[in-house]
Amino acid sequence: MPISATAEAPASIEATSLDERVERAAECVAPAWPLHSFVTANPLAGFEAWHFEDAVREAGSLFAASGYPGPDVLRAAWQRGDIDDKLLRCVLDQAGYAKSPKALLGWLKRKASSAPPASRVNGAEKRVNERLVKWLTVFLDEGQAEWPMPGREKGFYAAWRSLAIYDRQIPGREHLAGMPLSASAAIEWLIGDQTDLAQYELLRDQFAALPGWVGRIKQRIESDDAWQRDAPISLIDYAAVRLTLLYVMDEPLQARHDSSNDESEADRVAAGFERAWEQTYRDRLVSAIRASSEESEANNDDSPDAQWVFCIDTRSEVIRRHLEATGRHETFGFAGFFGLPMQYELDSADAAEPACPPILNPAHHIRDQVADGCETVGGRARQWHRLFRSGWRLVNDLKHNVGAAFHFVESSGPLYGIAMAARTLVPRKLRALRRRFGAHFPEPNHYCAPDLDGATACEDESLPVGLTHQQKVQYAAGALSLMGWDQFAPVVVFVGHGSESENNPFASSLHCGACAGHRGGPNARVLAAICNEREVRTDLKAQGFAIPEQTVFLAGEHNTTTDEIELFTKGTDLENTDRLQGIRQDLVTAQHGAASERGRALGTLGSSQAVRETGRRAGDWSEPRPEWGLAGNAAFVIGPRWLTRQLNLSGRCFLHSYDWQKDPDGSLLETICNGPMVVTQWINNHYYFATVDNAVFGSGSKVTQNPVGNIGVVQGNGGDLMTGLPLQSVAAGDDDAFHQPLRLTVVIHSPLGRVLEVFDKNQQLAQLLSNEWISVVALDPQEELTPRDVRQHLQDAALAVG
C-alpha cells in the first residue's frame, strides 16, 4: 500500500509562493555533486516519500527511464539460482501471473525491444535544451575555461539575457529585449496567468528535461561555495531562462501530458522477479548468520594482540576476514570518517576538503602540521610538492597561451611521446619507480600530524580551527561506545581507506564515501592522535573506558585497489619494534589473500599474480576498472563481529559493530540507523539505479566520456551533464552486468522491541522501510536469533493502534 505523500503534492501546491512552487517542482531531480567529491546518493531521493514502485513509475515517465533490471539480467540471476525458483513462482503467483518464469522473461524481452526508450523524447524540450545547454555549460564551469562567460557575477538569468541577444542560434531572439530584467518577474510575466497547479506541472517538466545540469545547480546552491558566491545561479534563474526560450521560440508554455505509461505491466512482472531475488538473498544471508554464529560466539573470548577499526564499506569485509585469519586480530566496523564532522586541509592541498558524510556539515577545520621529528623529510617533501605544482601550472599556462603554445608543443613533444609510451607499455614498472621515488618525497600522511589544537594560522575562518579538549573527549567516547568496546589490546589501529587509480575521473567514487569521496587516512590520524593524548585518556577513564597505559593508537589507510594497508607510525612509540614488524607481516599475508579473492571478480586467477595485477591496475592509465568499488553491495549488518565471523560475505555487506547489551535505551542503535544506515541506503540505491538505467541514472561508458568544467562529465560532444557511476563501475562489459541490483537488506542484532522503537521514533526511517526502499530484519538475541521482518511488525503495530 503506497504512502503517497508527494502524490498529493499538486493539491497542496495551490496558494504557494513562486519560490516554493519552483522549489517543489525541482524536487524530482536529485542534487549532483562535483566529481572531485563524488557522493553515491539516491538519484530518486526526491521520491523517497513515495512507495518504491510508485517512485520508479513516476520517475520512469518523467525521465523516460527504466527502474528495474532488464530481462537478460533477471534471466541470468534466475538461471544461476540467485533467484530461488520456488520462491519466484510463489511471488509471481501472488501477483496474479500464472505463466512460467521462462515465458514471462520471454515476454519481457519482446516488450523491451519493441519500444526503445529514446522514442519517448519530447521535441520542444529537446529544442530548448539545444539552445540552453551551451550556456549552462559555460556558466557552471569551475575554472576549466580560461575565458569565462562574461557577466557571471550578475546571476544566470541576467548574464544569459545580456548575451542571448547576440545568439543567432535562438530563433526569435529579437523578443528578448522586451523581457523583464529579473528572473522572477520574467516567470510571473510569462506564466503568471496560469493556475498554481498548471505552473507547478510546467515547471516540473522544465527541471526534469535536463536533470544533470539541474542536479548540479541544486547541489551548487546547497553548498553555497565560492563559485556559487562568485557566479550565483538559482532554480528561478534556470526556470526563467527556459520559459523565456520556450516563449521566444514560440513553443507552447504548458506541461506535456504524456499518454499514460504503458510500461507498468512489464514493470510489475520485473518487480516480481526483483522481489523474489531480494528475498532469496535475504533468506540465505539470515540463515547463514544464524547457522554460523552459534559456534562463533563460543570461541570469542581470547584476548587479541591488535584491534583494528575499519570503515563499514563492503570492501572492508574482505580484508577484515583475511586479516583475522592471520592471527589474534580483532576487527571492528565503523563509519570511516570515525565520527569526526570536519573538513581537513592536507599539507599538500590547495584547499580544505570535507571529510565527513554529506548528511553532516563539517563543524571543525583541521590542518596538517609537520610532525615532531619529521622536519627534514617534511621540508623536502613540501619543496618537491611546490616545485611540482608550479611546473604543472606553467605547463598549463603555456598550453593555453596564444603566442607560446605553438613552440611549447614542439619543444615538449618528445617528452610527451616518451611519457605516453612508458605509461602505456610499462605501467607496472612505472608505478614501482614512482613508489621508490615517493619514499623520498612522501605523502603528508607520513610526515604530518593533525594540528588538533588549531595552533597554526589559517586563512579560512568560516569554521573553528582545531578542537577543544571537551570536543576531543566527546568524539573519542562517542566512537568507542558506538562500537561496543570491551577491552583494549596493546595496539589499536584506525584504518581509513582510499583507492588508487590513474586517469580516472571517477576516482573519488572509489574513495571513502563517509569522508565525502576522499581518502580516509586523515580521519584515522585525527582519531588516533586524540586517543593518544594523555589528558583525553584520563577523561575517558572517568567515563568507564579502561584503556591500559601501554595501549597505543595508530592510524592507517587501506588501499582498496591493492588491499595494501599502510600504517602511519612516524613518531610513535611503536616505530621499529618487533611487534610492529609482526603486524606488518600479517598485513602482507592478508593483502595476498584479499587481493586474490577480489581479483577473481576482475578475471585474475591465482594468488601469486593477484598482487602484481592489482598493482598494475592501480598504476595503469588505460584501466577503466581499477577495482569494483562497492559493486555487489546488498546488505548492512549491525551487530557484533562474532555474528558474521565464520562467513565469507563476498564483499557484499556493510558491517557496523554494535553491542545491544551496551545500549539499554537504544540511543546508539538510533544513531547508527540515522547515520550509517541512511548512507548505506544511498549507496545501495545509487548502485541499483546506475545499474538498471545507466544512461539516465549513471554516466554511461567511460570510453566516450568528456570531462567538463572540473565538475563532471558529458557524453561525446556535450549535452546534459551525466551524473552517477559510469557503466564500467557496474558492468564487466556492455553485455555483461556485474553489480546485482538488490535493494538493501538491513540485519540488526537487537531485541525486536528496541528496533521497532527506533523506527517508530524516526518517521523518515519508517518511511524508507514501509515504502520498501530497504528491508529490515531483526535477529532477536533474546529469542535465539529468530528473524523478524520489521516492516511487517511495524505495520501490524500501526494497525493495532489504528
Binding site: H36, R80, A118, K126, V138, L140, G143, Q144, A145, W147, P150, Y166, D167, G212, W227, D230, R284, S292, R321, A325, D350, R393, L394, H400, N401, V402, G403, A404, F406, V409, E410, S411, G413, P414, Y416, M420, A421, T424, A601, W621, S622, P624, A634, L647, S650, R652, A695, G700, S701, V703, T704, N706, P707, N710, G716, N717, G719, D720, G733, F738
Partner: protein
C-alpha cells in the same frame, strides 16, 4: 579457518579479447620495427629505398611510417585494456588496423589513384570510428556529418590530382614532380594548388571547415587520439609531397600562410572558451594544424612535418589522459598571470626570449639570412618570454629555481627540438621543394605583429568583456546539429 560462502558474485571471465586484437597489435608494431630498420638503412644513401609504379619508399615515407605505427601501436595497446568489454571490439581493432594500413599506403603512394583511394579510405574509416556506437543517434549524426566532409575532401583531392596527372601526362608521383621541375609553370597549376589546399584544409579542420572535428567526440577516446595524432596530419603530408606545386605557384604559399594563421589564432582563442576538455583539445588541434600549415606557407615543409609528429605525441597523450583533467579549483586559486606591465620580469623575459629565439635559429639554421624563418624564431621567443614571466612571478619557488629554472629547462628543450628537426630534415631533405624559405614580405610582418598583439591583448584581458565576440566564438565552436546529447535518454552506450 574456512569461511562459509554466502551468495557470491558471479565470476568474471575478465572480458576475453578476440585474437584479432593481438594480431593487429603485432602487425602494427612490426611496421614500427620495419620502419626503424629502414630508417637506419636509408640514412646511408641518397636515393629512395624503393621506387615502383605503386609505392615510393623514401625518407618522408619512412619517417611517417615510424610516426603512424608508433601512434597506432600505442593506441592498440591502450585499447586492449581501455576498450575491454565493449561490444564489437574486434571491429574496433579491425578499423584501427585498416586505418593504419591506409595511412601507411597514403604516405608511400607513388600512384595518384592509390593516393586518392588511401585518402578516401582514411576518411571513411575515421567516420566509422566516430559512429562506432551504433545505437547512439548523436554518434550516427556526427558520423554522417564527418563522412560528408571527408567525401568532399576526397573529391577535391581526386580532381586536383587528376588535373595534375593530366597536365604532367603521368599518374606517377615522381614522374609528375620531375615533369614539373623541367617545365614552365602552366596556368592550370594554380587550380591544382587551390584544390590540394582545399582538400588539406578540410582534413586539417581549418576554420571554417572545423566543425567535423568538434563534432567527433562520439568516437572512443583512443580513436580520437589516433585521429588527432594521425588523421588530421594528412593535409600537411599531402602538401609536403607536392611542395614543388606550391613553389611554382608563388601566391599559393601566401594563401596557405594566411589560412593557417587564421586557424592558429582562432583555434587558440576558441580553446580558451571551452569548459569541455575534449572540445578544448579539438580547438587546440585546429590551432596547431593552422600553425603547421603556416610553417608550410613560410616554405618550411620539413618544419611542418616535424611539427605534426611532435604535436601528435602531445595531443595523443592528452587525449589518452583525458580522465586526469578534473581538478578541484577555488575561484581565487584560479591564478592570474603576473601583469605584463611588471617591468623587471618583462625585461628578463624579453632578454631570455631573444636568446631562446636566437638559439633556435642558429641550431636549426633557419632565418639566418633574414628570411621567413625569423617568424618561427618569434614563436620560440614568445614561449620563453612567457615562461620567464611566469616563473619569475611565482614567489612560492626558491630563488634559485626562479632565476635558473627557465634557462635550465627551456634551452635544453630547444636543443632537443633542434635535434629532432635536423634529423627529420636530414632524412626527408632530399625531397624536391621542401625547404625554400621566402624573403620577408609585408604579409609576414603583418602576421608577426598580429601574433604579438594577440599575445599582449590576451595577457591584458582586454577581450574578456566583449559580449558579442564571446557569443560569436561560442557559437563558432558548437558541434554540428543533433550531434550533442542534450537529452540523456538519447544516450546509448552500445
Amino acid at each position: 579457518m574456512s569461511h562459509r560462502v554466502v551468495s557470491p558474485m558471479p565470476e568474471s571471465n575478465g572480458a576475453r579479447l578476440p585474437r584479432l586484437t593481438a594480431v593487429s597489435s603485432i602487425l602494427v608494431w612490426s611496421l614500427f620495427l620495419a620502419a626503424s630498420v629502414l630508417l637506419a638503412w636509408s640514412v646511408t644513401r641518397a636515393e629512395p629505398v624503393w621506387q615502383g609504379p605503386m609505392l615510393l619508399i623514401d625518407g618522408l615515407t619512412i619517417v611517417l611510417w615510424l610516426a603512424v605505427s608508433f601512434f597506432s601501436g600505442i593506441v592498440h595497446v591502450f585499447s586492449r585494456r581501455y576498450m575491454a568489454g565493449t561490444r564489437r571490439i574486434g571491429l574496433f581493432f579491425a578499423r584501427l588496423l585498416a586505418f593504419t594500413v591506409c595511412a601507411a599506403a597514403f604516405v608511400a603512394a607513388n600512384h595518384l589513384l592509390l593516393m586518392t583511394l588511401a585518402w578516401l579510405g582514411m576518411g571513411l574509416i575515421m567516420a566509422g570510428l566516430i559512429g562506432r556506437v551504433e545505437g547512439w543517434r548523436q554518434a550516427q549524426a556526427a558520423k554522417a556529418f564527418a563522412r560528408r566532409r571527408f567525401l568532399l575532401s576526397a573529391a577535391l583531392l581526386a580532381s586536383g590530382l587528376a588535373l595534375l596527372g593530366w597536365l604532367g601526362g603521368s599518374w606517377n608521383v615522381v614522374e609528375v614532380l620531375d615533369w614539373l621541375a623541367s617545365t614552365d609553370t602552366p596556368a592550370a597549376l594554380a587550380l591544382v594548388a587551390v584544390l590540394l589546399i582545399a582538400a588539406a584544409a578540410i582534413q586539417c579542420a581549418l576554420i571554417p571547415m572545423h566543425t567535423w572535428l568538434l563534432s567527433s567526440m562520439t568516437a572512443p577516446t583512443p580513436a580520437s587520439a589516433l585521429m588527432h595524432a594521425g588523421f588530421v596530419n594528412g593535409g600537411g603530408i599531402l602538401l609536403t609531397r607536392f611542395a614543388p606545386v606550391f613553389g611554382a605557384v608563388e601566391w599559393s604559399l601566401t594563401l596557405l600562410l594566411v589560412l593557417g594563421a587564421v586557424s592558429a589564432i582562432a583555434g587558440k582563442v576558441l580553446k580558451s572558451l571551452q569548459p569541455e576538455v575534449k572540445r578544448q583539445l579539438g580547438c587546440s588541434t585546429i590551432g596547431q594544424m593552422g600553425f603547421m600549415l603556416m610553417q608550410a606557407g613560410l616554405g618550411f615543409f620539413s618544419a611542418a612535418i616535424t611539427h605534426l609528429i611532435l604535436h601528435g605525441c602531445y595531443k595523443a597523450y592528452l587525449f589518452l589522459g583525458v580522465g586526469e583533467r578534473l581538478h578541484h579549483h577555488t575561484p581565487r586559486a584560479h591564478r592570474e598571470a603576473p601583469p605584463i606591465t611588471r617591468f623587471s620580469s618583462l625585461i628578463a623575459g624579453l632578454a631570455l626570449g631573444v636568446v631562446g629565439g636566437w638559439l633556435f635559429l642558429v641550431l636549426t639554421g633557419k632565418g639566418l639570412t633574414g628570411d621567413t624563418g625569423l617568424l618561427l624564431g618569434l614563436f620560440v621567443g614568445l614561449t620563453v618570454l612567457h615562461s620567464t614571466r611566469d616563473v619569475l612571478g611565482n614567489l612560492s619557488l626558491p630563488t634559485a629555481v626562479r632565476m635558473l629554472g627557465v634557462p635550465l629547462t627551456f634551452f635544453p628543450l630547444i636543443v632537443i627540438y633542434a635535434l629532432v628537426f635536423n634529423g627529420v630534415r636530414g632524412v626527408i631533405g632530399g625531397l624536391p621543394g621542401v625547404d625554400h624559405p621566402a624573403a620577408l614580405s609585408p604579409v609576414h610582418y603583418i602576421i608577426g605583429s598580429v601574433f604579438v598583439t594577440g599575445y599582449a591583448v590576451i595577457e591584458l584581458g582586454w577581450h574578456q568583456n566583449l559580449a558579442w565576440l564571446y557569443v560569436k566564438l561560442i557559437n563558432l565552436s558548437q558541434p554540428a546539429a543533433d550531434t550533442a546529447t542534450v537529452m540523456k535518454r538519447e544516450y546509448y552506450a552500445y
